[in-house]
């Protein structure tokens, strides 16, 4: 450390800095403008300022990048979990905190009230993230004959619908009771497992299938081994005793999950949880625990993640229904799931119980029955065996389906059985999950000679290309590569775990009513079932293209088929996690502080983290800008740029932007004295092509300018704010902030181009213009197109444009600065000609050509 220099030491990148020599000296310097300056102390104070400034810029960079990340997932709806929400909110808060802190250092604590705004906003965000769904309250056991829609919070949609089927629609359902969500909540709380499960889930990397399976098994084991509290065990026993009174001793029950919290119409949760048939009294408690634990089956964890549900958003209730002595069972859709306007319904049926039908492991009959009275059989596919259902049974089913659709007000997906007495019993009725992307009814298969396989049943339309991966066991499943085509023998529900990884699904057996088919439709994954021989003939690694509209599979990549590539589905929209992020984002992203000249540009008016970053950045630049002037410290005052140029420029050196040996007392500076790399790049862009002068303006264009000038006093060049009066470069070797006011335009360009990617960025703001609004819009959109082509992230609001790039190497950014330099000079006054289409095209082509040559030439230089 040099002698005589004020002692200054910074801890970390600024935090923990107490009042120190340099800072107090600086404060006194600022107060006394005509005092004699101690150059060494001022120099040192300035350097510490510059360090705080640089930290502020780096934090600003990180914060804006994080905000862009949040906007992107909200826009695209690509699946994200709470770890994304928590991670981004935390990283943002940390970086904005750093900015606030750095600004306090820079300004000598002038903006203390920023802390209040910051604390207020982060507390709000914290509160949103920590918010828990309300605890379910009520009886531990409820009987089905007393259940209706109002009980959904306790018994879930599945069981409350079944209650309605019986009590309101008047169709048969099996007698039974529901172990409610209040019971499960009590059970989980008594088990003390919440923290442990949260820890396991929070650290789980859902992309790692092996970890997913291990964690899933671990959690399920924890839940299954926990004791059921006596008050709940007692209530369940009592419920069973009541059921025996209704049905007779020794009755076996089917136990079905009915999750509470799955309230969205477009979310099916099909086959995610366990169902157990033929449970005798002694196994009811164990089975109950297993079903509660099945909330953490791997496919359910993946499904919730993909659809934006937190684990605490879903709580299990379990229906215990007397077993139906079924002659046959099946699934029916009151409309075709692939064609919502279809005048027919679809019925799948198999002998015996219904489980194998929805699991996709049974061979089923398929019928199409008209919706009109009398319900005609339009199609009957029963293979080489006797039909499972006769006409009377089909009509009975059809009439029941219409009554259910009528009651619930939407097409229904219905599970049913017919018992020994010939009675129809409804086991479940839920809204039919719509097909993602709404594909039409399959065209008749005409696959052509090039097809490897044909004749499959389209389950979800679209087209996809990928490498075959055959999955027969859970071990195969662990190896499944992302983007592969899933090929299976049977469409079992557990394969749904792969629905976020598979490009398409091909199954040898199965039909549209299986749970896997429902999930494939929901996720918009092209799927063809019933494609005989697929698992046997296709080999792992074979590149194939699936035409899921026609049920054809082609070798290799088939561009003709892929032209119909389906759009990705926004699975997250309106989910609990998505809504939560939207709510958090309201405290982060909107920018309310836009005009530094406004009295509302103040800490008290910061309503979002973006406002705070904007405020900090603006004030930090001003502090740096005014330092020399305030302190009367000449070396850091503005120097005029000398040379032959059309505009006048001033340069303020922040640290090392001028060549070594330059006399800092000079009032003038030449471009040869500048060593700031970003400034030189902008300058190169500015001067690479001669400006052709203002474009020839038509009378109409000129009229619009004159009109605007007379209407808006702020754009009169004679009215100027002190800082906006001149064109400034604020520079160091790696940094440049350019503020420029050319006629009616206001422009800000800023860049840091050092060796470290986390510090690097280019940002650009542009607004104003003399022409009327529509011409300015056209010009700003022309700029947007050009900047996006060079990798900028661009936002346009009215006639104001902001553009930004972060985290790129120096060389890349310097090229972009040349682009900006060029545009600064050559697009001014272009707004005037933007009314004429031909002129707009002419200038666009000129700009594109010039830029191509500038970037190419300098690339050769490098």
């Amino acid at each position: 450390m040099k002698e005589g220099v004020a002692c200054y030491r910074k801890t970390g990148d600024g935090r923990g800095m107490k009042q120190n020599g340099a800072l107090s000296k600086l404060k006194s310097l600022i107060g006394i403008s005509d005092a004699r300056i101690d150059p060494a102390a001022a120099e040192e104070a300035f350097r510490s300022h510059y360090r705080s400034f640089r930290s502020l810029l780096t934090a600003n960079n990180a914060a804006l990048e994080l905000m862009a990340g949040i906007e992107e997932v909200l826009r695209q709806g690509r699946p994200f979990g709470m770890s994304f929400v928590r991670g981004h909110s935390t990283a943002l808060s940390v970086n904005v905190f750093k900015m606030v802190h750095s600004l306090q250092e820079l300004s000598g604590g002038r903006y203390a009230s920023l802390n209040d705004a910051f604390s207020r906003i982060t507390a709000e965000i914290d509160e949103i993230i920590a918010r828990e769904p309300p605890f379910p309250k009520g009886d531990f056991v409820l009987f089905l004959d007393r259940i209706g829609r109002d009980d959904t919070d306790l018994v879930g949609d599945k069981m409350s619908n079944l209650g309605e089927v019986s009590n309101r629609v008047g169709l048969n359902v099996p007698p039974g009771f529901v172990i409610t969500a209040a019971a499960t909540h009590r059970f989980m709380r008594a088990s003390g497992l919440k923290d442990e499960i949260n820890r396991l889930i929070k650290t789980l990397d859902i992309e790692d299938l092996e970890e997913l399976y291990t964690t899933s098994a671990q959690i399920q084991k924890l839940i299954s081994s926990a004791p059921v509290p006596p008050e709940i065990a007692g209530a369940i026993k009592e419920g069973y005793r009541e059921l025996v009174k209704q049905t007779g001793p020794g009755v076996l029950v089917s136990m079905r999950s009915s999750a509470v919290g799955e309230d969205s119409q477009s979310v099916s949760f099909a086959g995610q949880y366990r169902t157990q048939l033929n449970v005798s009294e002694e196994f009811i408690l164990d089975t109950y625990k297993e079903i509660v634990a099945s909330k953490y089956q791997s496919q359910a964890i993946v499904y919730r993640h993909q659809r934006g549900f937190r684990h605490q958003d879903v709580i299990m209730s379990v229906g215990c229904l007397a077993m139906v002595d079924a002659v046959c069972s099946g699934v029916m859709f009151s409309r075709s799931p692939r064609q919502w306007q279809s005048p027919w319904m679809e019925i799948n049926a198999a002998p015996g119980l219904g489980g194998p039908v929805v699991a996709g492991s049974a061979r089923t009959d398929f019928y199409r029955v008209s919706r009109d009275d009398p319900n005609q059989v339009l199609l009957s596919e029963t293979g080489d065996r006797e039909p499972v259902l006769d006409l009377e049974q089909l009509r009975k089913l059809a009439r029941a389906a219409l009554r259910l659709e009528d009651h619930f007000g939407a097409p229904q997906d219905i599970e049913w059985s017919i018992d020994r007495e010939g009675e129809l019993v409804i086991l479940q009725s839920r809204p039919l999950a719509p097909t993602a992307g709404g594909s039409a009814e399959p065209a008749p298969a005409a696959c052509g000679e090039t097809a490897l396989l044909s004749g499959g049943l389209p389950v979800q339309g679209g087209a996809a290309c990928g490498d075959v991966f055959v999955v027969r066991t859970n071990v195969d499943l662990l190896e499944f590569p992302k983007g592969a085509v899933l090929v299976v023998e049977q469409p079992l529900p557990e394969w749904a775990t792969l629905m976020n990884r598979a490009a398409a699904v091909v199954s040898e057996t199965g039909h549209a009513a299986t749970h896997l088919a429902i999930v494939a439709r929901e996720f918009g994954v092209p799927a063809v079932f019933g494609m005989a021989g697929a698992a046997r003939t296709l080999g792992n690694g074979d590149r194939v293209t699936l035409d899921a509209d026609r049920g054809c599979l082609y070798p290799g990549r088939n561009e003709r088929v892929l032209k119909r590539l389906s759009q990705p589905v926004n699975l997250m929209a309106n989910s609990p996690v998505y809504r939560l992020l939207e709510e958090v984002a309201e405290r982060i992203i909107p920018l309310n502080l836009t005009d530094p000249g406004s009295p509302f540009f103040a800490p008290a008016h910061c309503r979002t983290l973006h406002d705070i970053t904007r405020f900090c950045h603006e004030k930090a630049v001003t502090e740096m800008f005014l330092f020399g002037e305030k302190t009367g410290f000449d070396p850091k005052s503005a120097k005029q740029l000398s040379g032959d140029m059309p505009l006048r420029w001033w340069v303020i050196d922040l640290e090392d932007g001028l060549r070594p040996g330059f006399d800092p007392r000079e009032k003038f500076v030449f471009i040869e004295d500048i060593v700031s790399e970003p400034m030189l790049a902008i300058w190169e862009g500015m001067t690479a092509k001669r400006w052709a002068g203002p474009p020839a303006v038509s009378l109409k264009g000129l009229g619009s300018i004159l009109f605007r000038s007379t209407m808006d006093p702020r754009i009169d060049p004679a009215v100027r704010a002190s800082m906006g009066a001149k064109n400034y470069f604020l520079i160091s070797k790696n940094f440049c902030n350019l503020s420029m006011r050319l006629g009616y335009h206001f422009t800000l360009a800023e860049a840091y181009t050092g060796p470290m990617l986390t510090e690097n960025y280019v940002s650009f703001q542009f607004r104003g213009g003399a022409a009327d609004r529509s011409r300015r819009f056209i010009r700003v959109n022309l700029l947007k197109d050009i900047l996006e082509r060079y990798g900028f992230r661009v936002e346009v609001i009215l006639d104001a444009l902001t553009a930004r790039i972060e985290r790129k190497p120096k060389g890349y950014l310097l090229e972009r600065l040349k682009v900006l330099g060029y545009l600064l000079i050559h697009t001014r006054q272009l707004d005037m000609v933007m009314g004429e289409q031909d002129m707009a095209w002419h200038y666009r082509r000129m700009i594109e050509k010039d830029l191509a040559s500038i970037i190419k030439e300098s690339a050769r230089d490098n």
Binding site: K10, G12, R15, G16, R47, S83, S93, K98
Partner: protein
Amino acid sequence: MKMKKKKTVLLVDDEHDFLDITAKRLTRRGYHVLTADNCLRATEELDREPVDVVVLDVMMPECDGVDFLKEIKESHPRIGVVLLTGHASIEAGLRSLESGASDYLLKPVSLEDLIEKIEILYRDLAEGE
């Protein structure tokens, strides 16, 4: 006259895999790396030789990272400390910065990002002297 010397980084984390891999990679990039799998060992390392930057896991058994951070900033105010966490929390992040941490990073952090944080921190510390 500045002497070119290796920058010394102390990694503190109870996850041995993370410790070993990160230490190996940082060493390959020219850092002098010390490791400790608990706070007691970390204290011994800090007493044994001068350290520039500490990379500290927030959650370790029997040791709260933020408390230990405060201890370090008290006994060695010139050491820069970067906290690492697998459980992001706004409250913990801000408490860490207020207690003198230079940064609060979320796991998994890429090696490149970690190195940049260390380099920026080291540069700022050096310039402040």
